[in-house]
């Protein structure tokens, strides 16, 4: 049974966790690093060049204190969004969810949890993330996946 078929059988609900699925970027020939670098801004772009893109750094989970090894780009993205408000005005829902995952080190979050953080309806988030179109690699974590 293919992954797509299984995903269609196991329908996500508001408690189903989502994350950024890096494999989706590879499968869809999307260059993850290029996309993220476009979001960095001039100052952090310089920092990235200084540190080197292949370097790994210790990122600390702001909720648990757990340390995760991250490449410099991901680390800088998490840094960039760590101080920004989750409920930022003017952001699309997809952008706001994507930034939240970058900020929290891509820790899985359910639609219900995202709804709480972003102050948006959980069902709307669920419909957006579990539809046929995958936005920026954000997909549910199903048991078989």
């Amino acid at each position: 049974m293919s992954e797509k078929k299984l995903a269609s059988i196991l329908k996500p609900n508001v408690k189903t966790p989502f994350h950024i699925d890096y494999s989706w970027w590879k499968q869809n020939d999307r260059e993850w690093s290029v996309y993220l670098r476009g979001m960095l801004g001039e100052e952090l772009e310089k920092k990235l060049l200084e540190l080197g893109e292949d370097n790994e750094l210790d990122w600390v989970d702001p909720k648990t204190g757990e340390v995760r090894r991250m490449d410099t780009l991901q680390y800088l993205m998490a840094q960039k969004f760590s101080s920004s408000s989750a409920v930022e005005q003017g952001l699309s829902m997809v952008e706001a969810i994507f930034r939240e995952f970058l900020k929290n080190g891509n820790n899985p979050l359910s639609s219900a949890e995202l709804g709480e953080i972003l102050d948006r309806p959980a069902n709307t988030i669920l419909r957006t993330l579990s539809g046929t179109r995958v936005y920026r690699g954000m997909r549910p974590i199903l048991e078989s996946s």
Binding site: D58, P62, K63, T64, G65, V67
Partner: protein
């Protein structure tokens, strides 16, 4: 109280074994605060001391700590991770952190109970968990308070027992303090205290009132000066502590009423041996309802609520006292330890006040002689007592009605103090119990004299009482409570021995419902 250092077994709070080290902790705390404390307050001192000991054992003994990112840890330290549901892990490795601004924290590898390994930051000054865990600790109720709420009384008792066995501590009015730290009062100061109380009619005066006149030692705080004076007064036989619970008040012993210093003649009881197994349910029930202070009544059986009604018997009527039964003792002021407590009776109608004394050991309350006379009460009259609005006040009421002429049992006293009874019409001033009413007209000094000089035998007195009362009864039998009231006109005796005698005496016949008569042909 043996070992100096507590073991883990000693920390079972409800069964706390007070050790020498606990007493040292108490002593050093009292030295710091220079104020005596109650057993409950001292129990808290002990609990805090033990908690500190436990905490230091945790650090030394490698016990499990909560993971807090800002703390410093070493390899092999066991940690609990609240953000992971409180799971326990052990530090298996430590390394420097790779960060963009140099290592501002360190990374430790944790091996969890389930075998998984993860890395956590420590020595990290800025992290949300630092705040949350600290706040949790602040917000969660103090463990000492929790322990005190659940077992404070038990711990307080253990502390008190340990202090009682230790000569280094002294106890006054519910508070303890190391004897060596109390201030001395000279003989001259105590003589002055005596003079101060003398001038106040004996008292009562508070310690602070006396201290203001006597003057305290220099350089010690007021509480300690007050406690030290209490100790000096307590150890001097001239003074008597007569305050209610929580209030220390002093009285000059020589000026206390004679009936407070010595049990009144009419209330003195020579124990009469009797078999309580002879008392049937009906007898036990009436024994309870008579409310005699000498009866062995279970406390819970005797609760009459906020107002207690007493039927006077001759000994209390003549002594101007009330029986300190369990019900009454709940109304009257109590004290931590003083055997005599001074308070005030207040007349329910006039508001007039009468000094009263609770004599705890002898179980009577003194101070109503004048009031009984004013109200023209008699043995058998009802007296109601309830708590006053202010602490230390008892309202008394005699349920007086307009004077009426009624046929009542009248005791006629012979010149030798002998008593015979007749039914005569008398003017009665208050409500009374018909069975226990005994009208005593005129001078009864001959009866008083007989109480002083004659030794009575219960059997003789009971048989004579039945004979006397039977004469006045058309049915030719008498009720147990009538016999009890009449017996007590000539000797002090609680219902128990009388009822036991009625139950077993060969010449007394029970005719039902606690009515008795002397068997025919067996009269004297």
């Amino acid at each position: 109280m043996t070992e100096a250092k507590p073991t883990s077994e000693d920390h079972i709070w409800t069964k706390l074994n007070i050790l020498e080290s606990d007493l040292e902790a108490i002593s050093s705390h009292l030295l710091d605060i220079e104020s005596p404390l109650t057993p409950i307050e001292l129990a808290e001192v002990v609990v805090r001391y033990r908690m500190e000991l436990l905490a230091s054992e945790n650090v030394e003994g490698g016990n499990v700590l909560d993971y807090i990112p800002k703390e410093q840890y070493e390899i092999d330290q066991k940690l609990l991770f609240p953000a992971r549901g409180g799971i326990e892990g052990k530090i298996s490795g430590i390394r420097k952190a790779d960060t963009i601004n140099g290592a501002a924290f360190q990374v430790m590898e944790i091996e969890f109970e389930d075998g998984k390994r993860r890395e956590y930051a420590f020595g990290l000054s800025q992290h949300a968990l630092n705040e949350i865990i600290t706040e949790d600790k602040e917000e969660s109720s103090d463990p000492v308070v929790e322990i005190m709420e659940s077992g404070g009384d038990m711990i307080g008792k253990s502390v008190e027992t340990a202090l009682q066995e230790n000569e280094d501590f002294v106890y006054i009015a519910g508070r303890w303090f190391p004897k060596a730290l109390t201030a001395d009062f000279s003989e001259g100061q105590l003589n002055l205290a005596e003079a101060v109380l003398d001038m106040a009619g004996g008292g009562p005066l508070s310690t602070d009132e006396i201290l203001a006149q006597v003057g305290g030692p220099d350089g010690i705080n007021e509480k300690l000066a007050s406690f030290s004076l209490d100790l000096a007064l307590q150890e001097d036989e001239r003074f008597d502590e007569v305050g209610t619970r929580g209030v220390v008040a002093w009285f000059l012993k020589k000026l206390e009423p004679n009936d407070v210093q010595n049990t009144p003649l009419f209330l003195r009881y020579e124990e009469i041996a009797h078999d309580r197994n002879l008392l049937n349910d009906e007898m036990l029930e009436i024994e309870k309802r008579i409310y005699d202070e000498l009866s062995p009544i279970d406390e819970e059986d005797e609760d009459q609520g906020n107002e207690v009604e007493v039927r006077l018997i001759f000994p209390h009527w003549r002594s101007g006292s009330l029986p300190l039964t369990n019900s009454l003792s709940k109304l009257f002021p109590s004290a931590y330890e003083s055997p005599r407590v001074r308070f005030e009776f207040v007349d329910a109608k006039s508001g007039e006040r009468y000094p009263g004394w609770v004599v705890r050991d002898e179980r009577y309350v003194d101070g109503l002689r004048k009031w009984y006379t004013q109200k023209e009460l008699m043995p058998g009259s009802y007296v109601k007592a309830r708590k006053g609005e202010k602490a230390g006040e008892i309202i008394v009421d005699a349920d007086a009605h307009r004077a009426s002429k009624e046929w009542v049992r009248t005791a006629l006293i012979g010149a030798d103090g002998g008593v015979v009874f007749a039914l005569l019409k008398q003017t009665v001033q208050s409500a009374f119990d018909e069975r226990m009413m005994i009208y005593l007209p005129g001078n009864i000094s001959a009866l008083d004299e007989a109480w002083k000089t004659k030794t009575r035998k219960l059997e003789t007195v009971v048989l004579r009482a039945i004979r006397e009362l039977t004469k006045l009864s058309p049915q030719q039998h008498v009720h147990a409570s009538e016999i009890y009231a009449v017996v007590n006109v000539v000797m002090r005796c609680p219902p128990g021995p009388i009822l036991a005698l009625l139950a077993q005496h060969a010449s007394i016949e029970h005719v039902g419902h606690l009515h008795f008569r002397q068997k025919e042909g067996q009269e004297e």
